[in-house]
């Protein structure tokens, strides 16, 4: 369960990132064990999405180190190394980021239609429809365009795309935001399943405390550009950290300022 027993799949060491004068990450240290599920919580705008993107190399950190499977994620890669690196990842973006010129099934099967994982079109389509089914979408959405779907449906298509090529490491940026409670439950179960059955390493951002409890092995709270608290999900309620307590209870009273 805990970080100590298994080697780390992702390790962030003193990661800093600023956008102009806006210091977002101020020394993030975090370790995620192979095959475990880490959930990141924290206020809006604290840099959770930036954290995920810097692991993927979509954003380059100003200083600090990010190791994936023991290797430096950012440095001196040839494009082939970079392809191999990225092929291990799946990512659900906060805004789904579907390709709006492609029908839903081609979004989901994007990786399976080109590049090293390319396979026949019919097969890719079948896989896409199967993944859509797993996120609670029927086969009839397959040929629609993303713009014709509701926000929650787009989110689930994004999720299907992230898991389509069965990656080892999966990032979910707010997977249940915009979903009804029942569908949230389905998605939580799915994420749990992916970690337990496929042995994937997952890093999930969520604001939904019931998701946290359903998905997480470990929880980390980002606040003030640093990891404020991290530990097994079972310890979360007894963390003794006023920031974490305030976040869990959703109270406006506490050390975290709620500007109104």
């Amino acid at each position: 369960m805990t970080d100590m027993t298994k080697p780390a799949m992702i390790e962030m060491k003193s990661v800093h990132k600023a956008f102009g004068a806006n210091q977002v990450l101020r020394g993030v240290d975090l370790s995620i064990a192979r095959g475990s599920s880490m959930v990141i919580i924290g206020g809006s705008g604290t840099g959770k999405s930036v954290m995920l993107k810097s692991v993927l190399g979509l954003i380059t950190q100003d200083s600090g180190q990010i190791l994936v499977d023991g290797k430096d994620a950012g440095k001196g890669h040839s494009s082939r190394d970079r392809d191999a690196f990225l092929a291990r990842f799946g990512m659900l973006f906060q805004g789904a980021a579907l390709f709006d010129s492609l029908p839903v099934w081609q979004n989901v099967a994007f990786r399976l239609l080109r590049g090293s994982l390319k396979r026949p079109k019919e097969e890719a389509r079948e896989i896409a429809i199967e993944k859509l089914r797993r996120v609670g979408l029927k086969a009839d959405v397959a040929d629609r365009l993303p713009a014709e779907l509701s926000g929650g449906m787009q989110k689930r298509v994004g999720l299907a795309r992230a898991i389509a090529a069965e990656p080892e490491i999966i990032f979910f940026d707010e997977p249940t935001t915009g979903l009804d409670p029942i569908m949230s439950g389905v998605i939580n179960d799915l994420i749990r399943e992916i970690v337990v059955e496929m042995g994937a390493t997952a890093m999930t951002i969520t604001h939904d405390m019931s998701s946290v409890r359903a998905i997480a092995d470990n929880v980390a709270m980002l606040h003030g550009g640093k990891i404020r608290w991290t530990g097994p999900v079972g310890d979360m309620d007894a963390s003794g950290d006023p920031y974490v307590e305030q976040f869990i209870s959703g109270s406006a009273e506490g050390p975290i300022e709620a500007v109104r």
């Binding site: 993927l56 494009s79 990225l86 990512m91 973006f93 906060q94 805004g95 980021a97 390709f99 080109r114």
Partner: protein, 260 residues
């Protein structure tokens, strides 16, 4: 403002311009290197050929026919001042093929294609679709930029050639219908007067303008700022810059072709 401060401003502006040119050159080199190295995205190339080339035909045709017609009227009226009305076919041919065909087609492509490429790619950037491409092991330069620039390189010379012919036909129609020219003599004069050199210069200009128009659309799109405002600014700047660069390149190419 003191002269020294003015000098400083001027220096800063020059450095800024040089830096921008440097970034643009790097972008162009990267585009062509991606164009030549696999994987190739055939479907994207076909789609770009359709968008840049085929669908631009109507606007190119209309521009050329009206310009050719107006040119014939002007030359007839102007030529009449020194009894040289008979040169209409020759001047229309030279004017269309050497200058107006390539420049007007280039500007039309800047208006139609550069703007739509910039807006499309900028929107993809703003909605994180470009980041999503990267996480799906697809290089945006290869998938989005190279096909469009290749399409510009291949189709705009063809459009210019077609524009030249339609423009000459516009002049022919006006000259034979309204100005009393003999149809057969008009065509013979046109064909005999044009040199292969003129035609080659026209097509080379087309290729250069096509690359300028598509590259700038891609460049501003890929470097778009955030939000709707970012998209708007990217689109506006791309068209402005493409139009100015096309006119500047036209001047240089005309110098190279006709004064050496």
């Amino acid at each position: 403002m003191t002269p020294l401060a003015l000098l400083g401003r001027l220096g800063a502006a020059t450095l800024g311009l040089l830096a921008a040119l440097g970034r643009l050159s790097t972008f162009v080199v990267s585009t062509f290197s991606h164009m030549l190295r696999p994987p190739f995205y055939g479907r994207e190339v076909l789609n770009a050929l359709l968008q840049v080339g085929w669908l631009s035909l109507p606007v190119v045709g209309l521009t050329a026919i009206f310009t050719g017609g107006a040119l014939a009227l002007q030359i007839y009226a102007g030529g009449a001042r020194f009894n040289a009305e008979a040169v209409v076919p020759q001047i229309v041919a030279i004017g269309m093929v050497r200058e107006l065909g390539p420049v007007l087609v280039g500007l039309m492509i800047a208006a139609r294609v550069t703007s739509s490429i910039a807006a499309e790619i900028a929107t993809m950037k703003v909605t994180e679709q470009i980041d999503a491409l990267v996480t799906l092991s697809t290089h945006p330069m290869k998938y989005l930029v190279a096909p469009r620039v290749l399409a510009g390189l291949l189709t705009v010379p063809a459009l210019v050639g077609i524009g030249d012919i339609i423009g000459i036909m516009g002049g022919y129609t006006v000259a034979t219908q309204n100005l009393g020219f003999n149809p057969a003599t008009y065509l013979v004069n046109t064909v005999n007067f044009l040199e292969i050199h003129d035609v080659i210069s026209s097509l080379v200009k087309g290729a250069v303008f096509g690359v300028i128009a598509t590259t700038l659309g891609c460049y501003y799109g890929m470097n778009s700022g955030r939000g709707a405002q970012g998209v708007g600014r990217a689109t506006k700047s791309s068209v402005e810059t493409a139009a100015v660069l096309i006119l500047a390149a036209n001047f240089v190419l005309t110098g190279v072709f006709f004064s050496l």
